[in-house]
Subunit: 397 residues, 2 copies
């Protein structure tokens, strides 16, 4: 007999997946270039050429067993060292190699972070709007994901609701800034206030509440700002990173866990990651990819296109009368739908070949997400369709 | 508070790891070339050059977002198709792409196989001698690993003991042939008898008992034989493969799950693997590595050195009077120690710079493992040390 909990999951269909499949099917009818597909958060810019060149140099010059041989389960020591140095250089931290665990992308990193601090019966709190995959990520550890309702005026944290939800069962709080789906960057003020509450509650309950920071969009920041580095504000922070977006290599599945050196037992937590891996069958990223990333840590793909796209969309949405908070980063924008039922709204948009994602599963009903990691040309061509959609379907808004 | 079950695991030190660290330390004193390190099962031959060339061609010629972009969580469809075709060609099977799930090495493949069919309260049976990592692999799913004692005369299956251990709780049987640590290949007769019992017991209990076949050594076979393909003998077989040994690319972490097309719900099981991945944070192998492997499926590294080494060691061990079954494949040999306590035996060997692994943790006390994935020159140089060790320490054997 097959294990029921996984069989049951086959029934649940992701709305993003469904819409993306619709877009692909529609593309076969009218040409995909004519489908304004804002459904998927897939990077649309090329990897930096230097990354490919590094791979080729490694393949040509490195001794084969050194290049392709078994790496340590925590990651290649030199790679971990270089990751630590890059983080220290860019975010004024003091990581050592011992604080870094190489993971196969953000899912791999988070799966270790959750298991470090939470198990059956425990709770992890996150904030709406949130990436819906957090549900299986957390709930299949045996712990439970609790979602704080959104603060829709600016998508910072709804602290009042948060303080009501935090209990002795809360072992960790999960943040994602810059945020998927809102595109919002948590302010210093937000992070300081969050840290203060976590310190107080940890003291009150006599048990550390950890902060797990999922930050794959850390490098996609607009207006020449810099996103506050979450770990700066709270010692007990476990940062989870993926190179998918910054280097545009999502298929290569590489990221890491970085534990704040001031966190109690920080080095032990990294060694524990290796034990967690044994249980879940995680393997550290491919050696070739680890070594190539290590030579390109301070580099990114040409991410400017996302800001260009954001500005085009934001201006058009505002001019059409949408309620919309201006994103500070990522490649998402998160406006309020023009009717209460965002699913109905997005359904009507399909007639105009606009693929928008209703945000019910993101914990924020009445809103929708646009992932603008697409060609700027297509964004431009989508604007008249957006206008036509709004003016035809909502003439009296 | 950190999760206790993983903290506790930090106390348990693997004997293989301890010995390997000893070998490294001793190597720093006398030169590693003078340490006869038979501790680790790491491939010692180079990847086929064609593999590296395929990587370089992909990096030079493929469109970057196609090469490095998100792949489907079950693996790249064309890669799965090619894996199916290669298996069909070589083992007369009838797999389709829908029966293949790309995994990050054998640990990744097994972690999915176990979760498909077993959970909390269930049991999985395997046969001694066995790879000790099966313990955390199985036990951390919540199911329990049960080990059938060895049949030491030939290291085929001890069916009498097996039939006593199989119960309604048994959801799967795990085999590893060619076997780590014995080097033995299960005969057709063994596999047919095993299948017969599984069919009868499945019928008796009214529930399928699955056969999980861990076969990373499938391609390392001696005497120009071919290892029987396990899935041929039993419909409900889940084959788990890794390219680590056949292509000598263990660091690249790539393998797959192949479900026998005649298994009930075979296609559904593969889709379930994608759901299991969400829970354990597994990511399919790096795109570049998937695409490169797909072009080299019928190729292997030059594996002949392992047979050369085996013959040298086997002849010497026999001439020294060891009880030893001749390996049919892998790069392991598994003699009986010259005293009851194999740990004491291996400890004495250290004085001769011979690093041998006692087999207590393999479920076979009194035996030891030699991993001869090392240079043939070193094997030759180790023979006098082996002779001196035996003649000095066991003069009256």
């Amino acid at each position: 007999m097959l294990v029921k909990k996984y069989v049951d999951m086959l029934q649940q269909k992701s709305v993003i997946r469904t819409l993306s499949e619709f877009a692909t099917a529609r593309g076969k009818e009218i040409g995909y270039e004519n489908v304004f597909d804002y459904s998927l958060g897939n990077p649309s810019v090329a990897v930096p050429e230097e990354f490919n060149e590094t791979c080729i140099t490694l393949l040509r010059e490195m001794e084969p067993m050194q290049l392709h041989g078994y790496s340590q389960s925590l990651g290649i020591p030199e790679v971990r060292q270089k990751v630590a140095e890059s983080l220290n250089r860019r975010f004024s931290m003091n990581y050592k190699a011992d604080h870094i665990f190489m993971a196969s992308g953000a899912a791999g990193a988070l799966s270790h972070a959750f298991r470090l601090v939470a198990q059956e019966g425990d709770e992890i709190i996150t904030f709406a709007p949130f990436f819906p995959e957090y549900n299986p990520y957390v709930n299949l550890t045996g712990a439970q994901l609790k979602v704080v309702p959104p603060r829709t005026e600016d998508f910072q944290i709804n602290f009042e609701a948060f303080e009501e939800m935090i209990t002795e069962k809360t072992k960790a709080v999960l943040v994602n800034t810059p945020n998927n789906p809102s595109g919002i960057v948590y302010s210093e003020e937000t992070l300081k206030k969050l840290a203060k509450i976590l310190e107080e509650k940890s003291k009150e309950y006599g048990d550390t509440i950890y902060l797990i920071s999922d930050e794959p969009y850390r490098e996609i920041i607009f207006d020449q700002q810099k996103a506050p580095y979450v770990s700066h504000y709270y010692d007990h922070t476990i940062s989870c990173y993926s190179f998918s977006k910054s280097l545009s290599i999502p298929g290569e599945r590489i990221g890491y866990v970085a534990v704040n050196p001031s966190c109690k037992d920080a080095e032990k937590m990294i060694v524990m990651c290796g034990q967690i891996s044994r249980g879940i069958g995680h393997n550290c990223p491919a050696s070739l990819i680890q070594l190539a990333v290590a030579e390109n840590l301070d580099r990114t793909a040409d991410l400017g296109v996302y800001e260009t796209n954001m500005n085009l969309l934001y201006d058009e949405l505002k001019s059409l009368g949408f309620t919309c908070v201006r994103p500070g980063g990522t490649f998402y924008i998160f406006p309020k739908a023009l009717e209460e039922d965002a699913a109905a709204f997005c359904d009507k948009a399909l007639k105009y070949d606009l693929i928008l994602v209703p945000a019910d599963s993101f914990g924020c009903p009445g809103y929708f997400r646009m992932a603008y990691c697409i060609d700027t040309d297509k964004v431009k061509r989508s604007l008249p369709a957006l206008r036509k959609f709004v003016e035809t379907e909502y003439p009296n808004r």
